[in-house]
């Protein structure tokens, strides 16, 4: 028996790509948001924090629907993107990335923010006396020291991205080879007679991928911790 059918391989690879792109795009923004939330006070901070968490609070289908309305080719943003750059997100893998990026964003921010808050302010004070301005300090002190949280946030977001269903199917539908990620394939399998076995196998694959990602992240986290002198 082959382990994966071509369709399943496609779904797996697509999931990896979609999740990968989502994390890669979301991470810098998440770091920025976490930094701002973790280190500064400003009016409207709680509202901003609330907006960051919104995708977590809403059922994913609703998030997907909001994306559909705003980022579809008829939507405000999506329409502009389409008219101006010819970028089309709906029904594309890029759109799937956007959907999982949005739903996993709060998870990244939370993890990274925790790391930012745990960093000893005394070190930043020391860097200031050594002439480092805010951006400089951000890159030379905060960013390296938040690396474990960043990794943790990335991995949890990656796992969530691998499992995201509602937002994806609602925004970019369920097109094999284009937008049918593993969770959608699992869903599709449950719609078929005797599909449970297939669904179970796909779920096992998901789990294996997540396990590998976790192993990688543990390994990296240990290295990072050694690098930043925590071990």
């Amino acid at each position: 028996m082959e382990i994966l059918t071509p369709m399943e391989t496609t779904a797996l690879l697509l999931s990896l790509r979609v999740a990968g792109v989502a994390i890669a795009l979301g991470l810098p923004l998440a770091v920025l948001a976490a930094w701002v939330l973790g280190r500064y006070s400003f009016p409207g901070k709680t509202l901003f924090d609330g907006l960051v968490h919104l995708p977590l609070v809403l059922p994913p289908v609703v998030t997907g629907y909001i994306l559909l309305v705003t980022m579809g080719t008829k939507g405000v943003v999506g329409g502009w993107l389409y008219q101006t750059f010819g970028i089309k997100l709906i029904f594309t893998a890029e759109g799937a990335s956007l959907a999982v990026a949005v739903t996993s964003f709060p998870l990244m921010v939370r993890a990274i923010r925790l790391s930012v808050e745990a960093i000893d302010g005394g070190l930043e004070a020391a860097a200031r006396t050594l002439g480092a301005g805010p951006v400089d300090r951000f890159f030379t002190i905060l960013l390296p020291l938040m690396a474990p949280g960043l990794l943790s946030g990335a991995i949890v977001a990656f796992a969530a991205a691998m499992g995201e269903f509602g937002a994806v199917i609602t925004f970019v539908s369920n097109i094999p080879g284009k937008t049918q990620t593993l969770p959608l394939a699992i869903y599709a399998a449950t719609q078929e007679p005797g599909g449970d076995a297939v669904a179970a196998r796909l779920a096992a694959i998901s789990f294996t991928v997540a396990l590998l990602a976790l192993m990688l992240s543990e390994f990296l986290a240990n290295r990072v911790r050694r690098l930043i002198g925590q071990v």
Binding site: G64, V69, G72, G75, K88, S173, Q191, E192
Partner: protein, 234 residues
């Protein structure tokens, strides 16, 4: 040019088989995306580059038609289905579908699984049928409202509920359940799967795939998966 079909999830196997056959015949590739009818309709509304929409009920097709998002002249009532009562395999329960019958009592402290009557098509039909049979009021508090036919079916086949109301097509593909009774055809509005070309579709092959699905060859495939021809408009 590929044809993209957005179809209600319950039509998945049949549509895929039709697509394979169509490709063998014409060489044209048909891709399909299966999800809830509501999601698909909204995707079309928001610019999804689809060619054909197959809805599980009339409401969402009407929704698109009101907004001029489908080619009205291409709209057809493609299929029909039947509403049946299923029980877990081996169950001896004989659902009482008589007018004013005791279905609710038969449930005991169990529940009746079906789609959510507020929004899942199968639930709407079930509600209509039970109302017609004067059993709705008794059964309603005992509903387990699933978000799809399949989810309702799982509850039955796992034995978590003694009774479910689903389409015959779904009942046919789940070995864990058996059809214990069918609702009288006049107890609920005809179950209709409408199909249409999407307004923005520019693919010539789309029309011919729609035609193929309506053709006798196509109907044979539908039948194979338990669907029945669309009921005549009342």
């Amino acid at each position: 040019q590929d044809v993209l079909v957005l179809a209600a999830a319950s039509t998945k196997n049949a549509v895929e088989k039709l697509a394979t056959q169509f490709k063998a015949k014409t060489g044209a590739t048909v891709t399909s995306s299966f999800a809830a009818s509501s999601a698909l309709a909204k995707q079309i509304e928001n610019g999804a580059p689809a060619d054909i929409f197959i809805s599980a009920d009339l409401d969402w097709m009407d929704y698109l038609q009101q907004r001029n998002l489908i080619k009205t002249d291409s709209r057809v009532n493609l299929l029909g289905n039947e509403l049946v009562v299923v029980v877990p395999k081996g169950s001896t329960l004989k659902p009482d579908l008589s007018k004013g019958g005791k279905l609710a009592e038969q449930l005991g402290d169990g529940r009746l699984a079906t789609g959510d009557p507020s929004n899942v098509p199968v639930g709407k039909y079930a509600k209509a049928a039970l109302e017609k049979l004067d059993q709705w009021a008794a059964v309603e508090p005992k509903l387990a409202r699933a978000d799809s036919v399949r989810a309702a079916l799982v509850l039955v086949s796992r034995g978590e509920v003694p009774v479910g109301i689903v389409y015959r097509t779904d009942a046919a593909i789940d070995p864990g359940v058996e059809v214990a009774a069918a609702f009288p055809p006049d107890s609920y509005p005809p179950i209709t799967y409408p199909a249409a070309l999407v307004a923005s579709s520019k693919t010539a092959a789309a029309a011919s795939f729609l035609d193929y699905m309506k053709s006798p060859d196509g109907m044979a495939v539908w039948k194979e998966f338990g669907f029945v021809p669309a009921p005549k408009a009342p």
